[in-house]
């Protein structure tokens, strides 16, 4: 049986007159793009997170903190068990081909005995230790090389120069067990000597000892801590005599040295997180294999695995999981908003086709058949939306998302998600069509008509969602909560439009217009107040878009501020370095007297006042207890003004306000100083509910106590750790420390004293800070860099989500603008007959244009007002909706900025201009005669 033309033509109807194909496509595209982008974004975020973690590995990181793995053993590579384990290492995916290296460890193993590995030539003897690599020539930076057999050794350049030996010559290697201070037992055999050829001389690194890194590698730099030390000066690396595996094995056997073998691999560059997880799993398996009971004897030579890969991958995975949870919610909210827009388009279409639906029902096209027809009509837009959504998502990720390549698995998920959302769109089309037929087909009741108060119902739904979100105790917002701003925007748009219409109707002009100019305005008012549900719906749809733009722009601004602020709180400054004390900067600093000296009456000297290096400030930290309260508090003693300049303060107003408290602290300190002897230590109490402004308490440390007065309180502060913190001025605090003053050099009797960390904080990068300290010959105990320490999973996920939020809001806004444009076009088309007559009676085209401008200005203004009210209404929820870590400090600031208002206003202007253009175009399509003939 041939298919009826109604069915055959249904799929193409969306693109013919009376169809809404373009609009439906756009609305569904917003939904499918949201859904498709989620999996891509999560995958790219995870890969980017892994790369961020890998990029943050300093050159001097230990293997346990790096993306490398070392299989370490006292057994040589040709040992059967080691061969098995080597094969296991090679089978781990995502790793470079393992390289072998070994170092002499006999002095460490037999530390009770005197052992001194040396190299000799022509009576010159230099301490040096044997080492092995796969290919010495490739692993080193050659200075000179012979063309020998390759079974010799390579010497470091300083050693070669001191020995006066060139490539091609020979040297002797021996592990000395005796010298003048350590005579050998009687009848002890002489130390075995190995004579070996010199294959080459290699360049050494900046420390003058370890081999220089070949260009493009950091192989030797990364072996910090792995290279054996000089047997006499343990703070220095030993010179290394390098040979290949076979040569070194033979030499070690001859000289009775012991080599510790390491097989090293590193993660391949550019691995995805999924691939890296497989690598981490392989590393974990190898670790289990090595730990399992075996014939290998226990002890320092037992095989072990050292790697930071599992930790690194775990960190990146945590970042990805945090991003995944967040993204899923945003994608669901975005898809729902797109589907809501699609539903609005379908409802508008049903309104347009009411007469047709009624006639169709009358002749037998009931709800089910009509639903089927609309599904067919929506099929092509839905299919195009799937393809377009995936492609657009991919393009959006390339433009706004993290760097990286979208993997096939993410693409598969994207296709599935987009297809599901599109299918939901088809279901919506069926539901709207069926419902529209039932409504159109229903004989009008004889009862007094009560129109469904959909505006107030929608407002009730939005209010309920708002209340639920506001009272929710969930730690993370659900999809419904994230949908709340959209619902509120939609409802407020409808409410504002309804109220504005009601007010406008009551304020009708008392007289008819007297000129064509005022006639245009009068006509615009008249048509506006005559607008019914479809006009309210168009305003609601535009309000949805503008509201989402404003809320999103505000959320993005708040997120970026929170990231900057919390990074500042977490890291304190761009770079920090812990030093032994300010006394380390001074030659011959005043020392703390010993307890015995104090007992004899020696006074505690005044500490040297050391100005910090330019651009830095000293920060002292210690723990104290507070009278009347349990637990410890972190104390940070600073120079308030210098600290204000050197610390990181983020971007938000909260942190700026907190920064201003430092000046009040300095003023309070000045008051104490002016009194001569400080009575109280003024403090800023941070995150401390027990220390409120005005309170005075006694704080105590090891060997000292001081009365403190709380000058002000803050919820956050740069460098805030897990404990409540008190910030004070160093000079006043240490006035109570006596001999415990950390600015004095340690006493000779090394009695432990109050533990105070001394840090140098800087607004410049860590390399510069370390360089400054090296120049000042001040030891660096540890450093932190904001770029590394600032990698926090929640912050990272929030940062990555901002681009995603922007893309979603842009789509929703675009869809809303198109709904307004379509409404303007429909209105213009409906009014063509009346417009044709009005032009003829003297209003003219300019009057009509004025009328349209008034109509659209009203609609856009109402939507903009609703959008602004939306963000005000939703602002108490801002933190709960957009803050990924509500326990973090400072609190999330959801505050409308002028930039977000400007973006929203610009969107409104674009909507106005496009709608006006569409209306003008729609009304000019036909001649007046055609209009009157067609439209009646």
């Amino acid at each position: 049986m041939a298919l009826s033309p109604v069915w055959r033509r249904a799929p193409a109807r969306a693109w013919r007159r009376g169809g809404a194909g373009a609009l439906l496509l756009l609305a569904l595209l917003a939904a499918t793009t949201s859904a498709a982008s989620a999996s891509m974004f999560v995958q790219l975020s995870g890969d980017d997170a892994l790369q961020t973690v890998r990029d943050g590995i300093p050159d001097t990181a230990r293997t346990a903190d790096s993306d490398e793995i070392r299989l370490i053993s006292g057994a040589a590579p040709d040992d059967e068990l080691m061969r098995f384990r080597s094969e296991s290492l090679k089978r781990i995916p995502g790793l470079t081909s393992p390289t072998t290296i070994a170092f002499s460890v006999a002095p460490e193993l037999r530390w009770q005995s005197f052992l001194r590995p040396v190299v000799r030539h022509d009576g010159v003897e230099i301490r040096a230790r044997l080492a092995a690599v796969d290919d010495p020539a490739a692993s080193l930076v050659p200075v000179a090389a012979s063309e020998g057999a390759g079974d010799g050794v390579w010497l470091p350049q300083p050693v070669a120069e001191q020995l006066g030996v060139q490539p091609g010559g020979t040297v002797e290697l021996v592990v000395l067990t005796r010298d003048a201070l350590h005579p050998a037992p009687k009848d002890a055999p002489p130390d075995p000597v190995a004579t070996v050829a010199v294959d080459g001389v290699y360049e050494v690194g900046a420390d003058g000892r370890r081999p220089a890194d070949p260009p493009g590698t950091t192989a030797w730099s990364r072996r910090v801590g792995g290279i054996p030390t000089d047997t006499e000066y343990s703070t220095q690396s030993s010179y290394l005599i390098l040979g290949d595996v076979a040569t070194a094995t033979a030499l070690a056997a001859t000289t009775e040295d012991q080599l510790m073998w390491t097989q090293e691999s590193a993660m391949l560059p550019g691995l995805t997180l999924d691939q890296a997880q497989q690598t981490a799993a392989g590393v974990a398996d190898l670790r289990d294999q090595v730990k399992a009971p075996s014939d290998e004897p226990a002890g320092p030579l037992r095989t072990g695995v050292v790697s930071g890969i599992e930790t690194m991958v775990s960190t990146a995975s945590s970042l990805r999981e945090a991003t995944r949870d967040r993204t899923a919610l945003l994608a669901a909210a975005g898809a729902a908003t797109g589907l809501l827009s699609a539903m609005a388009v379908l409802v508008l279409l049903a309104t347009d086709r009411r007469a047709e639906l009624r006639h169709g029902a009358a002749i037998g096209l009931g709800p089910l058949r009509t639903a089927g027809l609309w599904v067919l009509e929506t099929l092509l837009p839905a299919a195009l939306a799937v393809v377009g959504g995936v492609l657009l998502a991919r393009a959006a990720m390339a433009a706004l998302g993290p760097d990286g390549i979208v993997q096939p698995s993410a693409m598969e998920s994207a296709w599935s998600a987009a297809s599901v959302v599109s299918a939901i769109g088809l279901v919506l089309a069926a539901i709207v069509a069926a419902t529209a037929v039932l409504v159109a087909d229903r004989p009008e009741s004889s009862d007094r008509k009560r129109s469904v108060p959909w505006v107030w119902l929608l407002a009730a739904v939005a209010a309920t969602a708002l209340l639920a979100a506001a009272t929710s105790k969930a730690s993370t917002p659900g999809a419904v909560a994230l949908l709340t701003p959209a619902l509120v925007a939609l409802a407020l748009g409808a409410v504002v439009a309804t109220v504005a219409l009601a007010v406008a109707r009551r304020t009708r002009p008392s007289s008819l217009p007297r000129s064509s100019r005022s006639a245009g305005r009068w006509l615009g008012w008249r048509r506006t107040t005559g607008g019914g549900a479809s006009a309210v719906l168009a305003v609601a749809a535009l309000s949805l878009g503008l509201g989402m733009v404003l809320v999103t722009a505000t959320a993005v601004a708040g997120t970026r501020t929170a990231i900057a602020d919390r990074t500042a709180v977490r890291t304190g400054a761009v770079a920090t370095a812990e030093v032994p004390g300010t006394w380390a900067f001074v030659e011959d600093p005043p020392k703390t007297p010993t307890a015995a000296q104090v007992a004899k009456g020696k006074r505690v000297p005044k500490p040297a006042i050391v100005p910090p290096p330019e651009g830095t400030t000293f920060v002292f930290r210690t723990l104290v207890s507070m009278d009347g309260d349990f637990g410890y508090r972190d104390v940070m003693a600073v120079d308030p003004e210098a600290f204000a300049a050197a610390a990181s303060w983020g971007d938000g107003q909260q942190m700026q306000d907190i920064r201003a408290q430092l000046y009040a602290l300095e003023a309070a300190a000045d008051e104490e100083r002016a009194a001569g002897q400080a009575d109280m230590v003024p403090v800023i109490a941070v995150n401390d509910s027990a220390a409120t402004p005005g309170k005075s308490r006694l704080i105590s440390g090891q060997g000292w106590s001081a009365p403190m007065r709380v000058v002000s309180s803050a919820t956050a502060f740069p460098g805030l750790r897990d404990l409540p913190m008190l910030v004070t001025t160093a000079d006043i605090l240490f006035g109570y420390f006596g001999r415990e003053d950390p600015r004095l050099a340690p006493p000779d009797d090394a009695i432990p004293r109050a533990y105070v960390e001394t840090w140098l904080w800087s607004a410049e990068p860590v390399d510069g800070l370390v360089s400054t300290l090296q120049q000042a010959d001040v030891p660096v105990l540890q450093t932190t860099a904001q770029t590394v320490l600032g990698v926090d999973p929640e912050l990272d996920a929030a940062d990555r989500s901002t681009g995603y939020l922007i893309a979603l809001a842009a789509f929703v806004a675009l869809t809303s603008v198109v709904v307004l444009v379509e409404q303007a076009r429909r209105s213009a088309r409906r009014a063509r007959a009346a417009d044709a007559m009005l032009v003829r009676v003297g209003l003219g085209r300019s009057g009509l244009r004025a009328a349209r401008r008034w109509e659209l200005m009203w609609a856009v203004s109402a939507a903009l007002v609703a959008a602004v009210i939306t963000v005000v209404v939703v602002s108490p929820l801002g933190a709960s909706l957009f803050d990924l870590d509500r326990a973090a400090r400072p609190a999330f600031e959801f505050r409308v900025t002028w930039q977000s208002l400007a973006i929203t206003a610009a969107t409104a202007v674009v909507a106005f201009v496009l709608a006006l253009w569409a209306a003008e175009r729609g009304s000019r399509r036909s001649t007046a005669e055609e209009v009157v003939l067609r439209d009646g």
Partner: protein, 277 residues
């Protein structure tokens, strides 16, 4: 009413039919107790000035609206007792409606020839191949609805209704946009439909319609004021004994009171004497 009534050829019976509309300005009584019977095999015209209630009456007869009070029986079934779905199904099977705007009775995605075929398919009737020729639309068989003139759309809408096999055909101003020739075609079609057994009711201002109808019902102020058939003009008396005087007769009773006298089997209305006033 029962099968007995159907046997007597009664398609629609209106008994004290009332229709009220509620608007912001208050209540409007569109129909105030209309009593009429529409029979099968007949074509009736409903006339009256604007606001007389004829569109409301037609809408109720076409089952597009429910009446507010009174009784309405269609093909032996009381409309008031039917649920919404039942009524919609009953209407779909038995009533064809030609609205004032003919494009509302046509499917925009179909060509002219396909409109009739679709209706026939949905109503499980054989398609009438020569129908287009009857109304002079054969040469437009492949045109889309939006390509037709107003008159062509009108003719097509009437044709779709008459070939649907509906037992009741209700048309609102079917000749409004038609020239004399086209109007004649339409009226002939409607008349033929009535002769085929349908009950055809037409609302009209057009004098051209009258000769084609079996009777004309005149509505004024929501009340059936006159019935013209077979050249006679009758005043309907409703079941409450009320009738509506023509406007010219009302002028005789400026006080809105008349003395009614039965005289020689006639009812005589006189102006009250001055004593009575």
């Amino acid at each position: 009413m029962t099968a007995e009534a159907i046997d007597q050829g009664v398609a629609v019976r209106c008994d004290r039919l009332v229709k009220l509309y509620w608007a912001a300005t208050g209540e409007t009584q569109a129909l105030r107790g209309v009593e009429a019977v529409f029979r099968t095999h007949s074509m009736s015209a409903v006339t009256g000035p604007s606001g007389s209630g004829k569109s409301s009456l037609l809408s109720i007869l076409a089952l597009n609206e429910r009446h507010t009070a009174g009784d309405l029986e269609v093909l032996g079934r009381s409309v008031a007792t039917m649920r919404t779905y039942e009524l919609a199904r009953f209407r779909r099977r038995n009533v064809a409606w030609v609205p004032q705007r003919p494009s509302d009775a046509l499917l925009p995605s179909l060509r002219v020839r396909e409109q009739l075929a679709q209706v026939a398919a949905l109503r499980r009737r054989p398609a009438a191949d020569d129908a287009l020729e009857r109304l002079g639309l054969a040469h437009r068989r492949d045109a889309w609805v939006h390509e037709l003139s107003g008159g062509e759309q009108q003719r097509l809408a009437v044709l779709a209704a008459t070939s649907s096999g509906a037992r009741i055909v209700v048309a609102d101003e079917p000749t409004a946009e038609l020239d004399d020739d086209s109007a004649a075609l339409v009226l002939r079609e409607l008349h033929a439909c009535a002769q085929g057994g349908a009950c055809v009711v037409v609302a009209t201002h057009d004098d051209r319609v009258v000769p084609h109808t079996d009777r004309v019902l005149a509505l004024r102020h929501g009340v059936l004021s006159a019935e013209h058939r077979s050249g006679r003009s009758l005043v309907p008396i409703d079941s409450a004994g009320r009738l509506q005087l023509p406007p010219e007769a009302l002028d005789l009773f400026p006080d809105d009171r008349a003395e009614l006298v039965l005289e020689d089997g006639h009812v005589v209305l006189r102006r009250p004497s001055e004593d009575d006033a």
